[in-house]
Amino acid sequence: MNAPIAPPRKLRVATASLAGCFGCHMSILDIDERILKLLDLIEFDRSPLTDIKHCGPCDLGIIEGGLCNAENVHVLREFRKNCKILLALGACAINGGLPAQRNHLDLRDVLEEVYQTEYLVTHGGIPNDPELPLPLNKVHPLHEVVKVDYFLPGCPPPADAIWKLLTDLLAGRTPNLGHGLLHYD
């Protein structure tokens, strides 16, 4: 007979949405009642769900959205420093996604158009308050700035795929999503 095993330590998970729309976070919530099972396995660190402002040491970091400004880079670096595993969740985190549509324009032209020349907007000038993060010249996907361990594509990735990926990662299995969750043809 096997010896009784002590209940495993709960794994700490942090999540953040950078240049994203929170759609991937909504898709996480779409796992529905399985979230109760998930909470048996994990506890949340920094996340929009906890409102904790900075990330502490974690087992898993989940990031939605790409990098469009300096603050995004700081958050991403904080995650990479603290999370053993980093997951890029969704199209924007992996490719830059919708925000990266500005990449074929020069940032200077974008700022000028929005804050100085566009008709019928308040011409208060380009905001330069040090409180505000500066936008990057181009929007970048996460893996161009830090090492990313896993990628889950989709806009958003379906809840079942997120569930499968998370349960695999938490159980220590190499994620294997396969047909229906990642491959559709």
């Binding site: 300096a70 200077r108 330069n128 040090p130 500066l134 990057l136 970048h140 161009e144 090492k147």
Partner: protein, 599 residues
């Protein structure tokens, strides 16, 4: 003659046959300078192909121009051996003198300067092509003179003849280069033996393909011979693969320049064995200058009753036609070559069926390397026992090596199979060597400890390239040059190769910019596995070989370029805030990224 008449004349000469599209496009372009949308429409109408299909072919090949090009088109050969001889500086000097950006046509439409993949002049570089003609041994002085000739719009035909001189540089002859046969001798011997007897000789001589893969020639010919033709017009074909695109290889150039009689005779013998009436020589576009001499050689053979009908008084009937490629490395792959012969983009076919059952025009086709066909002449004349006495057990006969790079005597060396790498290095006068790249970028990179290995199918198979690098050379830069080559030459058909070769190139560039991290090296290994396992053809399978070999054998060349042990972005992160800083006038701490190490 008006443009329309000119196009019509070319189309008529090719019987408005779409499968001859490559030759139609080339001949029209040679006269009009480029292929305009109107020209493509006219061609599509005449050959009754959809216009998109014609444009697909015209767009696929580097040497077809679908936008106006300069009246002088200079293409510098960009193999690593050309670079080692200083081609990059010479090309920059030329661009500077012409006030030109590489890859752009000058405003007045006079000239464009760009790079192209290896032009097969590695033993006499730095080389270039000007309006499809090969120039060797470029120097600063020649660059100056060439710029003056271009400025004065002197036609290329009136340029100094010595610029176009191409040396054979044969340094060591063995059984093939010292064959001593007279034209017709081998063919007469083959006719004497008959198709069955000749096939038996080839098989018992254990002749293997010289293109690198080493497939049994006898087996290939037998499969082609026993395959039935298809459709209303059944036939069999012999194709000689002279699309010598592997960087560092130039033996076929020399064989076609000085031993064409042997090559054509080998094709005839193949025709006799497989039962073909027609042979096609697929000549790479870079060797365009060989077209007229080769056609004259074919004419001479026809006059000598060695081609045509009733050859040497027998019922054997065989003739040879030359097709020119247009600058696509991938066409060295036999099924891509056949696609190209049929007027299509050179994309490898899905196999099976193999060309021996369904090849050119869907008929049984044997595709053989130039050197293989030449070697068949020796077997026809001297018999299999004599031939198999040369070389080793599994690699009979001899192999021609194209030696280039850091050595005193670059050129052509023929050895019996089984010769050690060290022997070749000694003979070519290499000293202080650190590495040899054998069989080109898709082959293998050897370090000093392996120089006692042998050139043979049992050990190191090769198509013939032998590039020597001395201790002053940076093996990382060698691999990076090859990574750029494969990214440029990928045909784009399958995703692993199309995307993978570009990712490899970008990672190598990232490491070169000193933005690399150990993760990037891991990524290169991952890409190597992926490309090797998932690509559609040999190009993708072998595209990572030079990176993989140099990572294993010259890893410090990579490591000393790495920025840190942490992951690093491929770009300067702080500079990524530059435009916003400029527009907001900010320069506070929040407007900069602290160094990750200090953060």
């Amino acid at each position: 003659m008006s443009e329309t008449d000119l196009i019509d004349a070319v189309l008529d000469r090719h019987r408005r046959d779409g499968t001859r599209l490559m030759q139609i496009l080339r001949e029209i372009q040679e006269q009009l300078g480029w292929l305009s949308p109107a020209t493509l429409t006219a061609i599509a109408g005449a050959i009754a192909w959809p216009r998109a299909k014609v444009e697909g072919t015209a767009d696929f090949y580097s040497f077809f121009y679908t936008r106006p090009m300069g009246r002088f088109r200079v293409l510098w050969s960009d193999n690593i051996t050309d670079r080692m001889l200083g081609s990059s500086d010479l090309m920059s000097a030329m661009c500077k003198k012409l006030w030109l950006e590489p890859g752009r046509v000058s405003e007045d439409g006079l000239v464009s300067v760009d790079t192209t993949s290896c032009t097969g002049m590695c033993d006499q570089g730095p080389a270039l092509l000007v309006n499809s003609r090969a120039v060797t041994r470029m120097t600063q002085a020649r660059v100056g003179e060439m710029v003056s000739l271009i400025r004065s719009e002197t036609p290329v035909a009136e340029w100094p003849a010595e610029w176009f001189a191409i040396e054979d540089n044969i340094r060591r002859k063995d059984i093939l280069l010292d064959h001593g046969l007279v034209p017709g001798q081998a063919l007469a011997a083959a006719l004497e033996r008959g198709p069955q007897g000749m096939l038996a000789e080839i098989k018992s001589a254990r002749l293997r393909g010289r293109g690198g893969a080493g497939f049994s020639t006898g087996q290939k010919w037998e499969a082609c011979r026993s395959a039935a033709g298809h459709g209303a017009d059944p036939a069999r074909y012999v194709v000689c693969n002279a699309d010598e695109g592997e960087p560092g290889t130039f033996k076929d150039r020399v064989l076609l320049n000085s031993y064409s009689s042997l090559v054509f005779e080998g094709m005839s013998i193949a025709g006799l064995v497989v039962g073909a009436k027609k042979g096609l020589l697929y000549l790479r576009g870079e060797y365009r200058y060989l077209l007229e001499p080769l056609q004259a050689a074919l004419e001479a053979r026809r006059r000598a009753n060695l081609l045509g009908s009733n050859i040497l008084g027998t019922a054997f009937e065989f003739d040879i036609e030359i097709h020119l490629g247009a600058g696509a490395y991938i066409c060295g792959e036999e099924s891509a070559l056949i696609e190209s012969l049929e007027g299509k983009p050179g994309r490898p076919r899905i196999r099976p069926p193999f060309p021996v059952t369904r090849g050119y025009l869907d008929q049984p086709t044997t595709v053989n390397n130039v050197e293989t066909l030449a070697a068949a002449c020796l077997i026809a004349t001297h018999g299999s026992d004599w031939y198999a006495a040369h070389g080793t057990e599994k690699s009979t006969g001899s192999k021609i090596l194209s030696v280039s790079g850091d050595c005193e005597r670059p050129g052509i060396y023929e050895y019996p199979y089984g010769t050690t790498v060290r022997q070749v290095l000694e003979d070519c006068g290499a000293s202080d060597y650190q590495a040899v790249q054998i069989s080109g970028p898709s082959g293998i990179c050897l370090a000093e400890a392996e120089f006692d290995r042998r050139i043979a199918f049992e050990d190191i198979p090769t198509a013939g390239a032998f590039m020597v690098f001395d201790e002053t050379r940076d093996m990382f830069e060698v691999a990076r040059n090859f990574a750029h080559f494969f990214a440029h030459e990928s045909c784009g058909f399958c995703t692993p190769c199309r995307v993978g070769t570009t990712l490899v190139r970008n990672l190598m560039d990232k490491i070169a910019r000193k933005h690399g991290s150990p993760y990037d090296i891991d990524e290169l290994f991952k890409l190597h596995r992926l490309l090797q396992g998932a690509s559609h053809c040999g190009l993708g399978n072998s595209a990572c070989n030079p990176v993989f070999d140099t990572l294993n054998k010259f890893r410090p060349a990579y490591e000393h370029r790495l920025m840190s042990l942490n992951y690093e972005p491929a770009f300067d992160l702080d500079a990524a805030l530059s435009q916003a800083r400029q527009m907001t006038g900010r320069d506070d701490a929040g407007a900069h990224f602290p160094d990750e190490a200090e953060a």
